[in-house]
């Protein structure tokens, strides 16, 4: 601030600004953060309390004597993981999610490379179609696919869900990867071509390694989308304990054991562990991925 002279108004303005950047703003932000965190905190605390305590007193009362061993327990977690089948559901979620992330990325990367660097008839038109499909609600696909799956005996199989998530995630994946791959320097791709590299070699040796940042962003977005999805899993896998994913099991528990809070709180937290880990470990990619992926239909 090299302004030597300040008008009286400027001085009052300065005070105003200092006031705003001072204590009151911090208090307000702290309050907002608190309000945003309390519901989840209540869930976490309750999940660690004995069932009788949960329904007989508010979760905030534990803080009156937080160091007594009798107020805490991990039995709720043992119970939901074993007798309510959430361990199995957790595993199912992993089995559904990993291929549902890898397959669309692979297919989209090949397609995005072709859209960006290979000449073929209908290229512009087809890419326009991809962009148009991005916001189509997946509800438009459910009934015809359900019927198709019934004919093919794919209902309730992991393969069916992988392909469904691949289909629903593909337009966004192609769009994002195209945006990145098309901005790679043309000279290096030309050079590879001149050196006699086939398009496939160029793609696997140069384009894929260079596209890691955008692939990571999309991977995180798709991972969370699939892990947290309920609708697709309900429609194509159902609530049968053998194959049901964790969100579907949790939703079923709410329906059947709506007042057994020891089950619901621990169950909900089990379902959140993975997304929260991803969130805390990969926050930078996480924000980028979610922002990029928010246009999905």
């Amino acid at each position: 601030m090299s302004v030597g002279y300040q008008s009286p108004q400027n001085i009052s303005n300065d005070r105003l600004r200092k006031f705003f950047s001072g204590v009151p703003v911090r208090v307000v932000v702290l309050l907002i953060a608190l309000v945003w965190t309390l519901p989840s905190a209540g869930l976490l605390v309750s999940s660690l309390r004995p069932p009788n305590d949960i329904v007989s007193s508010g979760w905030w009362t534990v803080f009156t004597h937080p160091f007594e061993a009798s107020v805490w327990t991990v039995d709720n977690y043992l119970q939901v993981l074993t007798s309510h089948g959430l361990a199995n559901a957790f595993l199912n979620s992993v089995l559904v999610t990993v291929p549902s992330v890898v397959i669309p990325i692979t297919i989209a990367a090949f397609a995005a490379y072709a859209f960006a660097w290979l000449e073929f008839p209908g290229r512009r038109f087809l890419f326009t179609v991809v962009v148009g499909l991005m916001v189509v609600p997946l509800q438009m696909s459910l009934i015809p696919l359900l019927r198709l799956y019934t004919q093919l005996d794919l209902n309730g199989t992991f393969l069916g869900v992988w392909l469904a998530h691949t289909g629903f995630g593909l337009p966004l994946a192609i769009f994002l990867l195209f945006g990145y791959i098309s901005t790679l320097p043309g000279e290096i791709i030309e050079a590879a071509h001149v050196d006699g590299a086939s398009p496939l070699t160029t793609f696997t040796r140069m384009v894929l390694p260079l596209s890691v940042p955008v692939i990571a962003s999309f991977a995180i977005f798709q991972f969370l989308w699939v892990w947290n999805d309920l609708l697709v899993a309900l429609v194509f896998l159902g609530t049968n304990e053998n194959v049901a994913v964790i969100t579907a099991r949790l939703a079923a528990l709410v329906g059947r054991r709506g007042e057994q809070w020891q089950v619901l709180t621990a169950g909900a937290f089990v379902s959140m562990v993975v997304p929260l880990l991803v969130f805390f470990l990969l926050q930078r990619y996480f924000v980028r991925g979610l922002t990029a992926g928010s246009v999905k239909g």
Binding site: Q9, N10, V25, V28, L30, I32, A33, T37, P39, S40, G42, V55, S57, G58, W59, W60, L91, V94, P99, V102, T106, I107, F110, A111, A114, L118, R124, F127, T128, V131, L133, M134, V135, V136, P137, Q139, M140, S141, L142, I143, P144, L145, T166, G167, F168, L170, S198, P199, L200, L230, L231, V235, T247, A251, A268, M272, P275, L276, V278, S294
Partner: protein, 371 residues
Amino acid sequence: MTISAPAESPRVPALKRLVAGALRVLISLVVPVITFLALRWAFIFMRDAEANKLSVGAVGLIVGVGAVWVLYLVTDNLASLLPDGIRETVRPFVFVGPALVILTVYLVYPAVRTIYFSFMGPRSEEFVGLENYAFALTSSDMLIALRNNVLWLVFVTTFVVSLGLIIAVLVDRIGRWEPVAKSFIFLPMAISAVGASVIWRFVYSFQPIQRPQIGLLNAVYTALGGDPQGWLILKPWNNFFLIAIMIWILTGFAMVVLSAAIKGVPAELLEASRIDGATEIRIFFGVIIPYIRGTIITIGTTVLIMVLKVFDIVFVMTAGQHETEVIANRMYREMFTYGNFGHSSALAVVLLIAVIPVMIYNVRSLEQSRR
């Protein structure tokens, strides 16, 4: 510089080239057959409920991921066998082909079928004209659902964008604690809507009047002198308690994006307005908001699309009971509970029509970026 590739060198005897070619054809044929058999075996293996979960997972991963790569390698190899003239015209389709097939099977074709089903009866056996749309737009159940969707769209979008904006401005001024505060507010975005619903069911939980309240909202409400309420059956306010969940989830997302945009406002611009004597409030409305208008519109549109299709929260919290129905939940119920594919398809088409303006906007932006 293909000296090292003997198959393409003219000096290599014709017989050798023939053998090499035959080998390639053989490989190109054998590999798909093996792939297919492996897929089939894996498919049957994976349907076997008795199989060990971990081995199912391992097989799934290898097949799911490996098969896709093998598919590309084989088809690319096949394309290489083609005569020079057409080889390079075919090859791009090796790359985009699988994507186009999946998009057609999973999005284009079903969309056409759904539009067709929306004019057919419950079992898609007879043509019923606009009957399903009459249901979707005029039946008393659906009028409530449509009203609720409008409530969701208006309140979630307004609150998410304005709260996100206010919080973004505030956290910009708290110095080194900014990332921490942002993390806490952004956190719900990582949680599934089902998980969030359980969290909030607990907040809204209700106990009879003599017993201690275990839900945060009733505890606060009774402490202030009110009688405990069953918030989720309190028509029509229960809708707003569900809407609050979505606002809680999405505000952090809006805040993060808007915060990045606000940091992009040039410091000279702000400094100039301050020297001119503008108050902070005026700078906010007169400088910051116009500067980030594009981002605000993007966030608003994004939230609109997400809210339009809201399903999980309603499904878990109330299953659409007590006049909290929304289009997407009703669509699911028509499909699975009532088995009425005509109604269900018409509701899906209603959702599609609602997003068409966004689709047109996206395609237009694409056309513009091409010029």
